[in-house]
Amino acid sequence: MTQIMVFETLAEAQTCNAAIDALAAPYWQGLGFTVINGELVPKNAATSLDDLSAQRVTTWAIPRETPEGKWWITSLTGTDFEPAMIDLRAAHTFTEIEMPNWGGALP
């Protein structure tokens, strides 16, 4: 299941997400991917060449509000970036939980 990081405020979530974005760019570059203005350029799956006109990855996550009024982003746990969780826990205040089934009001 997906792990998420829950923050008390939107600003805290945004700050942590920005920290993740800052470490992601050099990580991707280290893997041989092209990063332009902090945005990850995808490769064509058939040719393995950069798709410069394709949708780029612009951020790790977009903070979302919980039903309780807190804010969350997807955790790095279980991803290639998981080792960075140690630094994130030291520098940011959040709770890491399994994504709840918030459901949603269906029509």
Partner: protein, 243 residues
């Protein structure tokens, strides 16, 4: 030698991309005038990705419509799952989704999906306030297969659901590759189409494979059957011609 013979007879060969990744497509891609998007996960040339995560899924017919995801944590997977030996996109629930702004919003569409979602059903729905139409999985509830998209008709493998309920859907789709079709889906007043996510909770996001997604505007019955039979041969899913 066989290839030369085919070419000699003037037959169209399938696009190279469609042949990558294993079994499946052997027939030429049909020319469907009503198709406004044809997503084919087995055609690697239509996918842009990094480390197996999809940022863009383009129209196999070369049109400008496409599905995109610019948020790293929300990208579906490619290269990890197959249907009938062909690459399929894998949606893992949560916030994973692909979105196409604008192109679905103008008309009534017929939508065809090649899906394998072992543990869940799927539905296509739009929130009451408009905004998006969304493919999601459903489990543990009684909502109908399609909600808030007008007088849509749901079929699996060309056969209308009976009963046209989640129970009927579950009986028709659980644990098998299927061609799901939604006819007369009213996309008016919608700003985008999302494959995968309704809400981030586990119950309302799509968890499963997606091989193809074809969107058509006012297709003829012949066109629906042409697409259905093509997808059936490609992905190994059942199809019965619509009358």
């Amino acid at each position: 030698m066989q290839m030369r013979n085919l070419a000699f007879r003037g037959l169209r060969l399938p696009r190279l991309g469609a042949m990558r990744g294993g079994g499946g497509a052997v027939a030429p891609l049909p020319d469907i005038a009503s198709a406004v998007y044809w997503g084919d996960a087995s055609d690697a040339s239509t996918i842009s990705a990094t480390s197996g995560k999809v940022s863009e899924w383009r129209d196999r017919n070369g049109g400008t419509n496409k599905f995109v995801q610019g948020t790293a944590a929300s990208r579906p997977e490619t290269g990890t799952q197959t249907i009938n030996g062909l690459n399929a996109l894998q949606f893992t629930g949560g916030v994973v989704s692909l979105e196409s702004p604008n192109f679905m919003s103008t008309s009534t569409h017929t939508l065809m999906f090649v899906i394998e979602a072992p543990d869940d059903d799927w539905i296509l729905m739009a929130p009451p306030a408009g905004g998006q139409a969304i493919l999601v999985s459903m489990s543990g509830n009684t909502f109908p297969p399609n909600t808030n998209i007008g007088s849509a008709i749901t079929s699996v493998g060309g056969v209308n659901l009976s009963p046209d309920t989640r129970v009927g859907l579950e009986a028709a789709t659980t644990g098998s590759v299927c061609i799901a079709m939604v006819e007369n889906a009213n996309m008016s007043n919608l700003s985008s189409f999302v494959l995968g996510e309704w809400t981030p909770g586990a119950a309302l996001s799509y968890r499963g494979k997606l091989g193809s997604f074809v969107a058509m505007i006012a297709p003829t019955t012949a066109e629906k059957n042409t697409v259905g039979n093509y997808l059936s041969a490609q992905w190994g899913a059942a199809w019965v011609d619509r009358a």
